[in-house]
Symmetry: C2
Subunit: 384 residues, 2 copies
């Protein structure tokens, strides 16, 4: 049977029909008044989603392009930066920073553990010479299912006085509260195939006023990712380069759906799904990978002790056409991950839990009576 | 009346229903076997389109991203490059090269004139020290409707011995013959919203073996545009970053349509449309902007002496919902451009000519009897 695939990976996430239909429209000219209307409308919607009054710029590219743009537009060769690294994406921003010749000080935590805000505080307080120009970190670490305490770390950066906070909110934005202006986050990068309920292809960089001041000083080479060009074009409701027009149609439709649901309801839904998924996995004897109390609202990583995670994941795909994510790098085979990000309903959580339980039963690997997970999930979902 | 827009601009170009329907499918995981099949298939199709045995890599981004990738992956800080500049895109590659600290020697031609291959030959022959590392030029200059003689210039570059040819084939690939391997072009950049008959959002970089040798030496900073990462992923039929999955669906569908039509038929169609459009404009007394014999198969620029090109263009849009392109930069108001690139049939040429004639008649600006343009176009179209 074809076309019954359900995506429960941390991206691409499921896309509503309304959004797919918008995507499939005939393109229009990107220098037309009709397209300018879409840019104007989506810019307002993006500001609403980021809870910011400042620019949110749209790049045709992946979330990595957005994060790279945030870094290369605010920093200069040799600048000292602090990078938080507790997973694959933390590692990636270290690599980007090094590729551009930045002086990188890494603050690590074990995979599965959150970054320690006190470590950032100490490093920032020790920097009396104000050599640290930016703190780069991942809010929701997709590889481990851990949410980092961006709010507290950003506050420590503000106390430092001159450093910027550059945050990868790729799997947190649209899943949990990220009030950019309130928290004083200077740069936020995100991508369309996540909480946005869209296919991949667009990425977003929000830039606060301190980030723009840094832009004026930045000497790292850039052209396609030069955000000054995007800002200038955005002032005329346009883009500096031909954007992915059809993905803009989808963006407008998806953000309209998000506005209708409302931020509070969206965040509550993701929190509920995180709780339900976690409770279900624990009820069926599959330990969580993320440290207790630090689970991401976007994704739950499960480390099924004594069971090959990759075999289980593949069997769930083969039997039920639900695509779960595997473990990345050294976690491959040890971890599987259940995405509950974006266009995910309570029903999808029940379905995923039931399918995992049924697969464990089929494989003779169930540790408890089949149904315990669904019961635990249902209990959490009922709490609203 | 809505939804009757006809695009006759040089991008985005019209998109077939088959391609839009592919675009609107539910996304699948980009690390799945099903997606690997699509990457494998489209890579073969792209090699066919580029007439190359070497890598053609897919970037989520615009044509500028592809050209920037070609430059930053093969060159190093301070490298001397020759840039051809006879229009807006030639100018752009000069800007990109300078943004990355290259030592740029510009070979200019007036807008509307082709680049002079002899000027490249002379500069390359004078470079006995072999300081020139690359020649960067635009094949079809979209801003002026001029096609440059890439074949001859690439041959001069080969005679130099060490320099690379980096060619912007954004509006020539899929419109006219660009046999990459036969001509010895080292890097070709292109974009999806052109001859590919797709919406914008994907761009393509073809890299020959000499370009990969240069990659090993290149020290320009890059991460998202690091083609080494794309090559490594492509060997596994994958992408290094989450690609625009739905645009890949569209790519596969569009290239399949192109394969069915065949390269020779596609090139003959574009040549016919160029001839028909040019003949029609001349028949109705509207001079061509590009020098005679150097018209691009993708786009015809018209300089309607004594008529405000922008008013005419807007009236054609208002009356008939055909979007023509305006003049760029100093050509605004002096030139309008008729795109005949990609999914364009003979009927569309007749329609555009008829609409322009009707608009001139409405505005009282016709210089000859209305219908002369259609007659001239029909004559050329009938030649096949």
């Amino acid at each position: 049977m074809q076309d019954k695939l359900t995506l429960m990976i941390p991206g691409p996430t499921p896309v509503p029909e309304t959004v797919l239909q918008a995507l499939g429209r005939h393109p229009i000219g990107h220098r037309s008044a009709d397209f300018q209307k879409i840019v104007k409308r989506t810019t307002e919607q993006l500001q609403w989603l980021h809870q910011t009054q400042h620019e949110v710029l749209v790049i045709t590219g992946s979330g990595t392009a957005a994060m790279e743009a945030g870094i290369v537009n605010t920093l200069s060769r040799g600048d000292r930066v602090l990078c938080g690294d507790n997973g694959k994406f933390g590692e990636r921003w270290v690599k980007v920073a090094k590729a551009y010749g930045l002086d990188v000080q890494v603050i690590k935590a074990e995979w599965g553990q959150p970054l320690d805000p006190e470590a950032f505080k100490a490093a920032l307080e020790a920097d009396t010479a104000k050599a640290i120009k930016a703190v780069i970190l991942t809010h929701s670490e997709t590889s481990t299912g851990v949410i980092n305490d961006l709010q507290t770390i950003a506050a420590h950066v503000r106390a430092h006085g001159t450093a910027l906070t550059i945050a990868d909110c790729v799997t947190s934005l649209g899943a949990t509260d990220v009030p950019m202006d309130d928290w004083g986050v200077d740069v936020i990068g995100s991508g369309s195939q996540k909480g946005y309920m869209m296919p991949p292809g667009l990425s977003f960089v929000a830039m606060g006023p301190r980030a723009w001041q840094a832009y004026e000083r930045s000497d790292l080479p850039k052209f396609y990712l030069d955000l000054g060009k995007y800002r200038k074009a955005a002032a005329d409701n346009s883009n500096p380069f031909t954007p992915a027009i059809n993905l803009y149609f989808a963006l407008e439709a998806a953000l309209e759906m998000m506005e209708k649901e409302g931020l509070k309801a969206i965040f509550a839904r993701h929190a509920r799904h995180q709780r339900a998924t976690s409770a279900a996995m624990q009820a069926i004897g599959l330990p969580l990978y993320a440290a207790a109390g630090h689970g991401s609202p976007a994704i739950t990583a499960v480390a099924p002790d004594g069971i090959d995670a990759e075999s289980l994941r593949k069997e769930v795909k083969n039997r039920f056409d639900i695509l779960l994510a595997g473990g990345q790098d050294h976690l491959k085979g040890h971890v599987f991950r259940i995405g509950h990000l974006g266009f995910v309903a309570d029903r999808d959580i029940l379905t995923a839990v039931a399918a995992i339980e049924a697969t464990l039963q089929d494989l003779g690997l169930g540790k408890v009576a089949t149904g315990a997970g669904v019961a635990a999930a249902a209990t959490e979902l009922a709490k609203g």
